[in-house]
């Protein structure tokens, strides 16, 4: 670890950014909750939360992965690269599954 203080600062910054994004997502989700409730009454709350916030779970997992791999320093290059490739494959599968066809858009 070349500079512990700097690393701590960096960890705080990147975690802060992720938390900020998560909070914005929760705020946006809650601000439209009433409307969603009317249209999606049948859906159970826990399932809905897991599904709707999938990108947040990916984001937080990536955060942990990035912090851990970068902590390894220059030795982390291959771990970092492999981790990115895995996440990309998972994201592409998710995007294909959730693809928005032209007819579904308004």
């Amino acid at each position: 670890m070349p500079n512990l203080d700097l690393f701590a600062w960096w960890t705080i910054s990147i975690s802060g950014g992720s938390i900020f994004l998560t909070l914005v997502s929760i705020y946006l989700y809650l601000s439209t909750r009433t409307k969603r409730k009317q249209t999606e009454r049948a859906r159970s709350k826990p399932a809905s939360l897991v599904k709707d916030f999938i990108f947040v779970w990916v984001l937080l997992s990536l955060l942990v992965f990035y912090i851990v791999s970068i902590q390894l320093g220059s030795a982390a290059i291959f771990v970092f690269a492999a981790g990115n490739i895995i996440v990309e494959v998972l994201l592409i599968l998710y995007l294909i599954k959730n693809r928005l066809k032209e007819s579904e858009q308004t």
Partner: protein
Amino acid sequence: MILIACAVVAGVFAELEQSIAILTMIAISVILGFYNEYKAEKIVENLRHSIAIEAVVTRDGKSSQIDSKMLVPGDLVSLYVGDIVPADMRMVECKDLQTDEATFTGESFPVEKTIESLDIQHPMPQQLRNYLFMGTVVVHGSGKGVIVSTGKNTEFGAISKSLIRSHPETEFQKGVKKYGTMLLMFTLALTVGIFSLNAAIGHPLIDSLLFSLAVAVGLVPELMPAIVTISLAQGARRMAKVKVIVKRLVSIEDFGNMDVFCTDKTGTLTEGKIILRDIASLGEEVDHKVLTYSLLCNAAVVGEKIVGNPMDAAIWEYAKKNSTQETVNSYAKVDEIPFDYQRRMMSVVVKKHNEYILISKGAPESVFAKCKDAEISGRTEPIDAVSKAINDKFLNLSQLGYRLLAIACRSPEVKSSYAVEDERDLTLLGFLIFTDPPKSDAHEAINKLKGMGVDVKILTGDNELVAKTICDELKIPVKKVVCGSELMQMSWTEIKAAVEETTIFARITPEQKLDIIKALKANGHVVGFGGDGVNDAPALYEADVGISVDTAVDVSKEAADIVLLEKDLLVLAGGINEGRKIFGNTIKYILMGTSSNFGNMFSAAAASLFLPFLPMLPMQILFMNLLYDVANMTLPTDNVDEEYIKWPKRWDIGFVRKYTLFFGPFSSLYDFLTYGIMLFIFGAAAATPGAASLFQSGWFVESFWTEVLVIFVIRTRRIPFLTSRPGKWLMLLTLSCVAFGTIVPFTLLGDFLGFTALPAEYWALLILMVATYLFLVDAGKVFFYKICKF
């Protein structure tokens, strides 16, 4: 201003080199912005010129048509129906000239003009019947006048301050204003915050000030005015190709987003051209004499083209179509008693085999008054005996919107010339039924507009039966019909409710047209109004988008925002599509620029707190900003997804704010990640001389790649983003800019800007990182568009 402040601070307190570089960037930005705005203005000027108001002027005995702005006192100007009077003038020639001076004197009836001298001491302008005043409109007749004063020296100019009202602010203008305020708040908060924190943790004050100013600059999309203007101007040029001329650029957005279109029926739903629909004899059998006689009693000049009164011309068109015009060849014309407005009829005397026939044709009530008999199925009966049945038939046809002419005849005494007194004791033969036929494509056009989310409402001065007949013929569903008299009894709340469910407003006054538009606007609609008459001008002004046609009277064209070169709803639909594309591309720039800049500057601000050096030099930030703006220059030419333009959109500042807050941090996260990589993998944390430059180079490239490449993700709502094809110029310029930004650290320019070459492993990681970033943003879109509708 912020950039200039940066240059001054750098020049006074830091390095002259940095100051010069900043000033160079200001110059490039200004030149780019000026060039684009100039080009846009030229396009608009050319388009405006094609519909400029012109006047027929006689100078040195030669007549020519010139721009009315070029008129000077002493010019002799000719005026015709529909012309706006371009200056104050003394009349020297009048032929039944009447003007509408409502905007000038409040007089709602047309004012008759004369050339005679008036003997009035200290006359009021409205007493000057031998004068025409600038801004009034010729509603009848024609005339010539000598210009006495022009522009601000006219009576109208003197009181124009109280008369001229500017166009109400468009939805787009309101949106841009709110966006500016939002940006100002973000900029102020970040600048003050960064400066205070940097100063508080011990960074040099000048560096802190320069850096916070550079961050402020980074937040502002400098080229936004140029991008918006060029987007609008290029759109206006594309719209001109589909025969839609834009007079006021800012109205394009509202044109695309309009959800209610109010229009008169004439020329929009109907052809705007009179045709002879049918011939009605008084009996059950068709009397061919009616057509033959109406061809004989006809003032049209028939050559290669048929010229003359539209009804007379329509009779010839009908005869030619049915090949019956030869029937007149066996007749010889003896004399003609011409049409005049008092009698409202004309007559001819013709001869066939020494038999003289006087034929009269004219307004039914005028001809009836001169009839003694009526010919029904070959029998002649006294007109009094059949007048009720004939009147009923006449009224029924009139109420259905048909225009009628009556044909009558008699055998006159033989003489060489005939006069009005000979029009007596006529025998009524039948009617000619004229109509303005429905347009063949009006049904398709209405359906198309409906499919685009635009509700069409008909505002007409005609009676409800006429409007209903046209709608029935065109199979246009009519929800409700409201007449002007009913509207007059309604309260404002009732009018607001009525406009939502009514398709036809019949027998309405110009003031009621205004009320309807105001009520629709108050209900939250973006309202378009199509009109071509003098009385339509106030409604054209009031509507969010005033739409007129090239053949409209000058006053309507002047009040309109958009002028259609063809009065056709399909042309309108084409224009709306273009408007939506322009809105789509403008919004793309705003969303991308704001969210990317916010993300980058947010991460720069955070980094400045814990790094021992500036994460990016002010000059580097400005260079990146400039390069990003260049990459966006072709955004106005980008493709817009079909589904995006299917429905009208509204500017929603709340959406822009949410978008910025949501997508901005994505780029910040990857900026932080790059910090980690540069500091802890590539050793930029070490206190070596080149560490800062390596860090800044690494972040510059990553930041630029993510900022520019995310355009392809954000420009579409489709998921995955690869299913939407970007415009070729956008793709070409964006990728060229990415390539240029990538090689900059290896060049002399890179040295000048303080960059250094990056290691090979960095590029491999960068590609993987940026790919993850783009897919993550795309995944974020799944969540965002599920909860934020726009």
